[in-house]
């Protein structure tokens, strides 16, 4: 291992841990809230099962507002809210708040699109069997769209890593911020390149896992 990595190994491990926390919670939020939001975006559209212009427009607007902010400003803008939720606005834990917000907005959009490609016939079969909305969502929609949902989550996760690199601004740390602070601001180009290689490895692993899983569960 290169000397410089050995020298900084503690910091690097800590940074990796911080990234895992931020990205991990983002994934959780994307799944627990982003997926439902995306599902409603899909189902409340014109011509769909739960057609509801008001719900659709509101969700759509909220998602668009969050995505409209330059992410740095979103983080800054949310500071009072973050403080309200977490008691403080600084540190890795606090950084998960804006991260989860952008994660929800990001994944809900990709999930919405994944659901759009479920064949109409499957929805029709579900309705004809008297399935409730809940059943339609969990037993038909998600089942048929599952590989697209996994691939979307893969893409989102990689975006979350990218978003997390900004969280240094509020003391969130993380491996990307480490690369920026040590590599860029301190002119340690070698260190920066090593860190980026580490990040590339993570991203490759995530992408590989995502593609493999998606292919495995796609039986269509």
């Amino acid at each position: 291992m290169p000397d410089i990595l050995v020298e900084y190994q503690t910091e690097i491990w800590v940074s990796i841990g911080e990234t895992f926390i931020m990205v991990g919670f983002s994934i959780l939020a994307a799944l627990l809230i982003g997926l439902p939001v995306g599902t409603f975006l899909f189902l409340c559209r014109k011509g769909q099962l739960l057609e509801n212009q008001v719900v659709f427009s509101s969700l759509n607007l909220i998602v668009n507002i969050i995505r409209s902010f330059p992410f740095l400003l979103l983080v800054i803008f949310m500071i009072p809210f973050t403080r309200f939720i977490m008691g403080t606005a600084i540190g890795t834990a606090a950084a998960t708040v804006p991260m989860t917000v952008i994660a929800i907005a990001h994944y809900s959009r990709l999930a919405e699109q994944s659901l759009l490609d479920v064949p109409k016939g499957v929805m029709e079969a579900a309705v004809s069997m008297g399935a409730s909305s809940k059943d339609i969502i969990f037993k038909f929609l998600y089942v048929e769209a599952r590989s697209a949902l996994v691939l979307s989550m893969t893409t989102s996760t990689i975006s979350f890593i990218s978003y997390s690199t900004i969280m240094g601004v509020v003391g969130g740390g993380g491996i990307g911020d480490f690369a920026i602070r040590y590599g860029y601001l301190q002119f340690r180009t070698d260190l920066m390149i090593y860190i980026i290689i580490i990040m590339v490895i993570f991203v490759q692993l995530i992408q590989y896992a995502g593609i493999t899983l998606a292919r495995k569960i796609d039986k269509r």
């Binding site: 004809s128 008297g130 048929e144």
Partner: protein
């Protein structure tokens, strides 16, 4: 039990169904025939409101379905099983898991499910393929899964859109026998859309002939009964060699 009252359906400016009235008695096997594009599928799909009529009422057991919402319409639909012309199987579920759906949605006890499914798959001759996915099945096998799925929970009404279109005569005869049996044993009302005259003639008691989105005529018939044939390649050969004008008899 199923009554359509002057139902109409337009697609854009095209009138697919023009003021059709029809009534199907409880326990009857009712056939619908007509040329391709006559409106058979559309009519059938209105019976469980998968297709909303633009005008007219759909009445089942005295209850007008048109504007029903929520739990009630779901309950009714659970008792009206449908076999779609395009099968509409769930590609990511095995044959078994496709067939379990009606049971799951009706919240039948978990215990008896496996037997019901296996029985229903046996009816259509697919018990060995229960762990395959639809993409691994032949056309006729897919259609049989759709049939098994429709009958597994003993619905009150069975709406069948060309249920045997991809099946060879042997399998067709077997499926028809099954339909006749569940009709006789459990009093299931069956509506069959088919272009195969023999299918209609063998089990239907009344037949609606459709043309250009209208009912052309309603006819009472005497079902000729299902004639089972040797379930073997020899059977094919025998029938191939039999002479006589049998085209679309």
């Amino acid at each position: 039990m199923i009554t359509l009252n002057n139902v109409s359906k337009r697609f854009g400016s095209f009138e697919a169904i023009q003021s059709v009235s029809l009534s199907i008695k409880s326990g009857e096997i009712h056939g619908i025939i007509g040329a391709s594009g006559a409106g058979k599928s559309t009519l059938l799909r209105m019976m469980n409101l998968i297709e909303q009529p633009d005008e007219g009422d759909v009445i089942i057991d005295g209850e007008t379905l048109n504007h029903l919402k929520g739990k009630r319409i779901r309950q009714i639909r659970q008792s009206l099983a449908m076999i779609f012309q395009g099968y509409h199987l769930i590609g990511n579920k095995t044959v078994f898991d496709n067939v379990v759906m009606p049971l799951e949605l009706a919240k039948t006890p978990k215990k008896g499910r496996a037997e019901k499914i296996v029985e229903s798959l046996r009816f259509v001759g697919l018990e060995t393929l229960k762990n395959q996915y639809p993409s691994q099945l032949s056309g006729g096998q897919k259609q049989r899964v759709a049939i098994a799925r429709a009958i597994v929970n003993q619905p009150k009404v069975l709406l069948c859109d060309e249920p045997t279109s991809s099946l060879d005569p042997n399998t067709t005869a077997e499926v028809l026998e099954v339909l006749q049996r569940i009709n006789q044993e459990f009093g299931v009302t069956i509506v069959i859309v088919s272009h195969e005259m023999e299918v209609i003639k063998s089990i239907c008691e009344r037949v609606t002939v459709m043309a250009d989105g209208r009912v052309y005529k309603e006819i009472e018939t005497e079902p000729t009964g299902v004639h089972k044939m040797e379930h073997s390649a020899e059977g094919f050969i025998k029938r191939l060699k039999s002479s006589g004008d049998i085209n679309h008899a």
